[in-house]
Amino acid sequence: MGNLISEAFSMGWMALAILAGLLVYFQVSIGDPAAKKRAVFKTFIGIISCFLLFMAIANYKTNFYGESRLLPVSLVMITVTTFIMALYFTNLGALLKIGGMMFFVAAFLSGYGNWLPQVEGGFPPVEEKKTWDSMTPQQLADEGEKIIFGGVGKNKEQGAIGKGQCPLCHAFHAGMLGERAPNLLGLPTRGNERLDDPKYSKGNPSKREYEVKEAFPGSGTAETAQEYIAESHACPSCYVVAGYGVKGTNDKQSPMPAIHKPPISLSLPELAAVDAWMYLREGIDPPSFEDLVKSYEKFIPEADRPKQADEKPAGATSLMADGSEPVDQIFAKGQCISCHTIPGIPGAVGTIGPKLEEGTTASQRIKDPTYKGTAKSPTEYIMESIVDPSAFVVKPFPDNTMPKVFGQKLSAGALKKIVDYLSQVKTGAPPPKI
């Protein structure tokens, strides 16, 4: 306040001095006492208004780029000024009152705008054209880490997740046991062991007992460790590591989606980058970029390869689902279907988490004596379960299995659609319309 006043003085001292001079001049020059009194009073009002005006300008000048939400106060000051002036300068009254009214409306609206939560759109992501084939192995591995974890050096961060969404199910470091999928530490060396597994039946895909025999008819099986990795990405159900199949299928079918297909849709160079990171972080020299891509070309037919050009330009969000999709796609994009069985959602047959019939179960769980969460209604309970899964863990499922990232990775609209859908699913009733 103090600095505003001094700023106003330093800006407006000339105008104020002229008015003050006028005050003195009227005092001495006008003879008629009534006229003198009126003139002096008017000038006095003028001085006050002028000062308010300069205060308002000073507020703008000093705070224009600041965080201050009080800028519209200036407009209120100007409103007051004009109405005061209108009272005493009646020949300009209409104009001043109209101006004052306009300032008031503008002040109200800008004040409202400043009162609302302030969100600033950040700077756009730096434009980069990826030239995959000329990258050094290290650069390629960095790209891979970005795809898996969302950033270079983030691989040890809890909950870090990138476009590939791998950490949703897989663990990457020693001692972390993935409940849903194998730990990927040592994969480059383990690949060869897997090839020797009789169940893999290398070179003879028709003997396989799995749901899918080949990545595509005629693709054959992997011959090298790298080809094994590529095949696992392109055709997860061609070979399922014992204990990690979809429950109830006797490990015949894998819960993992094909990574080159929607919704994840990694392109071949991106998959190569992911693999390069897997090699390099264990100190093993990765195969060349061309060889990596070639290993994928063996298992992904031309028509199925996602085009680089189709990639959304920079600025696409890091959200898994933005809420514009139909609810079944949200369940697929969030990978919910890998772990949960959801009536009415195609492909949602996972058994790692509970069956989601929240229309019936949510209210029972809130009444559960061991329930410690804050939800009061079924919809709140569903929201809480997504955003903060450990608030209540359904027996007999273990805690800390469900990722805690969905609050950040699903948009508000997507969450709402999920909650709306799940709250309508009731035990024993036909599933709701999507």
Binding site: N91, G93, A94, A106, L109, G113, P117, A375, A412, G413
Partner: protein, 638 residues
């Protein structure tokens, strides 16, 4: 007789000249596509041996021969982004907004002129016809001063563009070169037509000549509208580019570049918006004159002028949301992501402000109408019911502005214990909001009906039944809207959206049936007393000013939203903005900026009005155009 015939020949010649001016740009433009078509073909023939480079249209997906250069890749620095010690974007924002305000004003006012002049020609009442004619003349006089200011501001805008964003501007002008030339010629045509129209007013005011004059106003408006369509093609291209390939290279088809995904919705939205805005400005002018006038006669005239302007503005305000809905649907169809940024993402709070403002607009309209009943004898019978309308409006408004789902950080999400507020979350759903706004609009319709029958008593034999029917219809309409809103609570969100259609249908039924029924009932009705123009309270004029200011503000807000939805692109997905100002400002900063623009516009246009009154004083046009001696001196406020 000879003189009259001469006049007639002269005026027909003037009309022909206008048509000629209208056709001029088209004639000039005709050879240019031909040349444009030939040149690439010739080039292609020349380097037949070489590979002719082909590109694929980003929107129309057609193949075309690459003609233009790719969109430049700018870098931050004085070469691509020269600057003063100030944010270039804010300067451009200011220049653009002022040009737009004045531009839409001078495009809207001739349309009003056309409507009012036509009303004057067809009205049988001689005195009223003369008043209409004088009003139209007053309007065009105001717009004439604003017209030159529009041109000056346009020049300033171009210079701002050239000096602050040279790389971007040269790319844009490279693609739109022929369009920009046609635009310039159209502008010449517009000026010529406007001057002939204005100066021919007194010379052609009788009989056949008047009809020629009226057709001139039609041509004037056709030119003006085409002018705006061309300007819209640039912003349409920036939002939803077409006619270029992925690198931004022009593919030789100028129609694709103009006719982008959002061009037509923008055209419609802007025409309606301009009209409502023009109505607001003229109403504010009338309010200013009303408050400043010293005689009853002046007050009567400006009261009437404010009423007509307000009615025209509101008439165009009502279809505006539907045009907005179309635009928004096209945005979603063009890029889902863009629609989400608008409605549920970064810019969602701005739509909350917009909702507030729509409420304010309707509230001020209602307030004005209630006050306006004060100038009719016999309208007292409605006065005591107004308090109930206020109550209904307030309830509708409260429901309408309650937010429901918002962009939130996970922390906020957790603090609130869910996506919705524990209490308010139950109220802000779309179902209730639709109910709220429909209640508000229906109440506005009711106010209008009361106003129209204020000083009249129906004399038709079924008057009693008509009145009862009207009351029952309104009551049932309210009941139906509220019932549907409540019903929406009990059915899931994906189905409940369907309820908004019958709600809107109910409101529109009230609008059309009740207006029609009322005008049938009031035909030949007994007048309780005359409308005493000028006997309206001063407060009502503040409602008009509020309407005008809120409308200007809303225009600035929506323009900001439309422009900033491109985020960090000059041309969406074609040319990136690499300046230091590629981020999106906070809501508060935008609100302050819009306020500054609005206030600058109003201060400057009050100055224009004052200039207009100066000429009126010098040349006392027969009736009451000027009010000698009573005009305040707004210049002193600068």
């Amino acid at each position: 007789m000879g003189l009259l015939a001469g006049k007639r020949v002269f005026s027909i010649m003037a009309l022909c000249m206008m048509v000629g001016l209208l056709l001029l740009p088209i004639v000039v433009a005709l050879p240019s596509p031909a040349i444009g078509g030939d040149a690439p073909a010739g080039d292609a023939a020349k380097k037949d041996g070489d590979k002719v480079e082909k590109g694929r249209d980003v929107y129309y997906k057609t193949e075309g021969i690459v003609v233009g250069a790719p969109a430049p890749k700018t870098t931050d620095g004085p070469k691509d982004y020269p600057r003063y010690n100030f944010e270039s974007r804010v300067l451009l924002w200011f220049a653009n907004q002022q040009h737009l305000y004045y531009g839409s004003f001078v495009l809207a006012v001739p349309i009003f002129c056309m409507i009012i002049e036509f009303m004057g020609v067809v009205t049988k009442d001689k005195a009223l016809a003369k008043r209409y004619d004088q009003l139209a003349y007053d309007f065009i006089k105001i717009s004439l001063t604003a017209y030159s200011l529009t041109a000056i501001l346009g020049g300033i805008l171009i210079f701002t563009f050239l000096t602050l964003y040279p790389a971007f501007f040269s790319y844009l002008s490279g693609i739109f070169r022929p369009v920009m030339h046609i635009y310039a010629l159209m502008f010449v045509a517009e000026s010529g037509t406007l001057y002939i129209y204005y100066y021919g007013w007194d010379k052609m005011k009788e009989g056949f000549l008047k009809w020629i004059h009226l057709s001139m106003s039609v041509i004037l408006n056709v030119i003006g509208t085409l002018l705006m369509f061309l300007a819209n093609s640039w912003i349409g291209f920036m939002m939803s580019p077409a006619g270029v390939d992925e690198q931004g290279r022009y593919l030789g088809n100028i129609w694709h570049v103009i006719h982008t995904a959002l061009w037509n919705p923008l055209n419609l939205h802007r025409i309606l918006g301009n009209m409502a805005f023009g109505g607001g400005v003229v109403a504010a002018y009338a309010a200013y004159k009303f408050l400043a006038s010293k005689t009853d006669e002046d007050r009567a005239h400006y009261d009437w002028m404010g009423y007509i302007a307000m009615a025209l503005g509101v008439a165009f305000l009502i279809p505006l949301p539907f045009a907005g809905y179309w635009l928004m649907r096209e945005v979603y169809a063009y890029r889902q992501q863009m629609g989400i940024t608008l409605m549920g993402g970064l810019l969602a709070w701005l739509f909350i402000i917009q909702a507030t403002m729509i409420g304010i607009l309707f509230l001020s309209t209602n307030y004005y109408l209630w006050q306006a009943m004060g100038r009719m004898r016999g309208a007292e019978k409605y006065q005591r019911y107004i308090k109930y309308l206020v109550f209904i409006l307030a309830c509708g408004y409260m429901v309408f502005i309650t937010p429901h789902t918002m962009v939130m950080t996970p922390a906020e999400l957790k603090a609130m214990g869910g996506q919705q507020h524990p209490v308010l979350g139950n109220y802000g759903v779309m179902s209730a909001k639709n109910g709220g706004i429909n209640v508000i609009i229906t109440t506005t319709v009711l106010s209008f009906v009361w106003y129209m029958r204020g000083n009249k008593v129906s004399t038709v034999s079924w008057a009693k039944f008509g009145n009862i029917f009207m009351g029952v219809f309104f009551a049932c309409a309210y009941f139906n809207i509220i019932f549907l809103a409540v019903y929406g609570y009990y059915i899931p969100a994906n189905v409940r959206v369907g309820l908004s259609v019958p709600q809107v249908a109910t409101t529109l039924s009230c609008l059309f049936f009740m207006f029609a029924l009322n005008s049938v009932m009031m035909k030949g009705a007994k007048q309780m007393g005359p409308i005493e123009w000028g006997k309206i309270s001063a407060r009502s004029q503040y409602a008009l000013i509020m309407l005008a200011t809120a409308f200007t503000w809303m225009m600035g807000l929506m323009g900001y939203i439309r422009s900033s939805v491109r985020l960090f692109w000059h041309v969406n997905e074609i040319m990136r903005d690499n300046s230091p100002w590629a981020y999106t400002h906070t809501v508060g900063f935008a609100a302050n900026m819009i306020s500054a623009n609005v206030l600058f516009f109003w201060i400057s246009i009050l100055f224009v009005f004052w200039l207009g009154s100066l000429t009126a004083k010098k040349v006392p046009v027969e009736s009451r155009a000027g009010i000698p001696g009573s005009v305040p001196q707004p210049a002193a406020s600068h």
